[in-house]
Symmetry: C2
Subunit: 134 residues, 2 copies
């Protein structure tokens, strides 16, 4: 069922500082930041040869990453996103195995314009997992 690792998402308190760390200190290429008000984040991508690191900074007053940053004020790894060919099949398979999909269980349009679901970290060895249909 699992395809590629689409991205690793890092929640960061200061996107410009995170971009400087990845560009200057680690010598990586980072995309221009893009505000996504409907998702409550501003996002920039670190481009690696085989995948991407998604840098997320809270945007607005009800950001979905605000609670995470309150607990981890310096930032940290927020979720992993795996690709799947068919989200409906994936969701049915998860349900059969007792893994809880967050929200109402139905796919939403994610930050990249594709259908996504998030799986409860309690059912995923402590890690928040996003599945994206590609």
């Amino acid at each position: 069922m699992l395809g590629r690792l689409n991205h690793v998402a890092l929640a960061v308190p200061d996107l410009q500082a995170a971009i400087r760390t990845y560009e200057a200190t680690l010598g990586a290429t980072v995309s221009v930041p893009q505000p996504l008000p409907e998702h409550g984040v501003t996002v920039a991508f670190v481009d690696l040869p085989n995948t991407r690191i998604e840098l997320l900074e809270p945007l607005g007053t009800a950001s979905p990453i605000a609670a995470f940053l309150a607990k981890n004020p310096k930032g940290g790894m927020h979720h992993l996103c795996y690709e799947v060919a068919d989200l409906a099949t994936a969701a049915a398979h998860l349900a059969r195995n007792g893994a809880r999909v967050l929200g109402d269980g139905r796919p939403k349009i994610g930050a990249h314009g594709r259908p996504v679901i998030f799986i409860h970290p309690g059912d995923m060895v402590g890690t928040l997992i996003e599945l994206e249909e590609v």
Copy 2:
């Protein structure tokens, strides 16, 4: 400087349970667990088309992931490992940019038999970063 994302490491309290989650619930392929007493972990790899997820369970009484699991008893994302062509060049570049290498600053032989360094998470937007020479 940064090459491929070599792996994402997840610390897990129960490796067999984590393998079941990745195999049965997520439909991935996981390697046979390998005890690495000299590193204080037992490791298994989730093989993805573009990278690997490293599942780490503590081994022995002084495991380097014991403190992390005491704070995160269900498990969680422990570190990211990026590939670099030359660790000496990378370490010099990090030092010029004020990023602290853990331990005595010199490369050690990592869990995959290659030279590695770890960078202080406080200098890496809250994320423990491993650099592996490939």
